[in-house]
């Protein structure tokens, strides 16, 4: 991930099934709370499909939480 303007977090690439997926576009972002932890959700597109990545700001962990059209 990288920090963009306004310190906004932006995913750049992720690893899934031992393959590096470059994020071509972040199509939507939203956030919610799980307990007291804020989670940032990113709908991202690579060359093959659409994914949802979630960043847990308390645990500082990334998770692939959804995929579509692969």
């Amino acid at each position: 991930m990288v920090f963009g303007p306004d310190r906004a977090i932006r995913p750049v690439w992720f690893d899934w099934h031992n393959r590096k997926h470059a994020v071509l576009e972040t199509t939507y972002t939203w956030s919610d709370l799980k307990g007291s932890a804020r989670r940032l959700h990113f709908a991202v597109r690579d060359a093959g499909g659409l994914y949802e990545l979630t960043y847990d700001t308390a645990e500082q962990t990334w998770e692939l939480t959804g995929l579509e059209g692969n």
């Binding site: 939203w30 919610d32 709370l33 959700h41």
Partner: protein, 408 residues
């Protein structure tokens, strides 16, 4: 009431537009948003609407109307977040923002003009910020009151901006069918038609005594609506009246019949209601149970408990006692639990050891769940209920406060 400038903002095909932004493959295509495990269309994109796909249709009806329609399972967290952010943007222009539903709000911008120039300018600024941040459009109506601004926003969709100046009100209303006014539903329209009232102009001229005889205290209000008069203020969330009930309902992923299964969902709902009530320090004297059957018929029953309750087990016991008075002759589609007769600021530790333990255990559970998320700690019997929480955004949903509900 002095001249006001009120703005009504209506997000266009909100859920469908958000989904089309999140997935570029869906843009420009007919899509219909449906609930998880369910078959009713919640919102259709404008492309689908052009084929006749409407909210409330079954998936097969939607497919008949538009064979190429794409069904998308809704993600309520996306919608509540987006709505909350848009409502925050509105607050940049006036503190007088009244959230009507997840995708509609009124703004009273009367006193904002010295900063922003004109209401139209505020509308353009909002539209462009919403489009820039989320890629979605809204329709905005500007008028002297809430009734007319809502009417104006309905006049052009999508992406409309319609102004009804005070001088134009009579002309616009004269031939407008009464059903176009917010608050006049199909039943009311039928009754008015039977009285020979078809247009707002006719409604405004109709003798108020005859309207009052037919509709009671609403009669005078109806006549005013026909004249485009609405003195109701724009009420921000903070100034809203105290809530009168705390409740949750849940359309189940499949219809259920077994008592044991119903009890599991009732316990889960009681925990959701209890937790929200405890968070806002309210307790209810009356517990309501709602059951909708497979054929969509719905029954509701209530009971009064000895002391004001907000502990999940107390609410659950009351709901079960209601259930035991009912004969269920069909599978259950939806369950709802609600507490009313609320008292605020209830804080009393019980004297007896057993009760005290329950209160302390509940409080400990709440602390864990506040930190790690709803249902991180819960009753063993609801563990296998699948995903827990609210799947439906209530019309009473608000971005914050007691009406805010965490949805899945």
């Amino acid at each position: 009431m002095a001249d006001r400038i009120v703005m009504h903002i209506d997000m266009n095909a909100f859920f469908a537009s958000v989904e089309q932004q999140a997935d570029p493959e869906l843009r420009g295509k007919p899509i219909a948003v449906i609930g998880r495990g369910r078959t009713v269309v919640t919102t259709a994109s404008y492309e689908a609407r052009a084929f006749g796909v409407k909210t409330g249709m079954n998936t097969w009806q939607a497919k008949q109307a538009c064979p190429q329609v794409i069904f998308v399972i809704g993600d309520n967290r996306k919608y509540t977040y987006t709505s909350g952010e848009i409502m925050k943007m509105m607050l940049d222009y006036t503190p007088l923002v009244e959230v009507f539903s997840i995708d509609e709000a009124w703004l009273d911008v009367t006193h904002s003009l010295s900063i922003f120039g004109s209401a139209e300018n505020i509308a353009y600024l909002l539209k462009s910020r919403i489009r820039h941040r989320f890629g979605i459009t809204c329709s905005i109506g500007i008028a002297p009151n809430k009734l007319l601004s809502k009417l104006a926003s309905e006049m052009k969709k999508p992406d409309g901006l319609i102004v009804i100046p005070p001088t134009e009100v009579c002309r616009i209303l004269e031939k407008l069918p009464v059903k176009e006014l917010c608050g006049i539903g199909r039943k009311m329209e039928q009754q008015l038609l039977m009285m020979g009232i078809r247009t707002c102009g006719e409604l405004g001229r109709y003798p108020v005594e005859r309207l009052s005889r037919k509709f009671g205290i609403v009669g005078e209000r109806l006549q005013q609506m026909g004249r485009g008069i609405d003195n109701s203020p724009v009420v921000p969330v903070a100034d809203e009246q105290e809530v009168k009930s705390v409740g949750h309902s849940m359309t189940l992923e499949r219809d259920i019949e077994r008592r044991q299964e119903i009890l599991k969902y009732l316990l889960q709902l009681s925990e959701m209601v209890g937790r929200r009530a405890r968070r806002y320090n309210v307790a209810g004297k009356t517990v309501h149970l709602t059951i909708r059957f497979a054929d969509f018929s719905t029954i509701g029953r209530q009971c009064t408990v000895k002391n004001h309750a907000n502990r999940s087990d107390e609410i659950f016991n009351a709901a079960v006692s209601i259930l035991d008075t009912l004969e269920l002759d069909q599978p259950v589609r939806l369950l709802g639990v609600r507490i009313t007769n609320l008292c605020y600021q209830r804080q009393q530790l019980p004297l007896f050891e057993d009760e005290l333990r329950k209160v302390l255990a509940t409080s400990a559970m709440d602390e864990v769940n506040d930190r790690y998320g709803s249902f991180a700690v819960t009753y063993g019997s609801v563990l296998d209920n699948g995903e827990k929480g609210s799947f439906v955004i209530s019309p009473a949903w608000r971005p914050d406060g007691i009406r805010n509900v965490d949805v899945l």
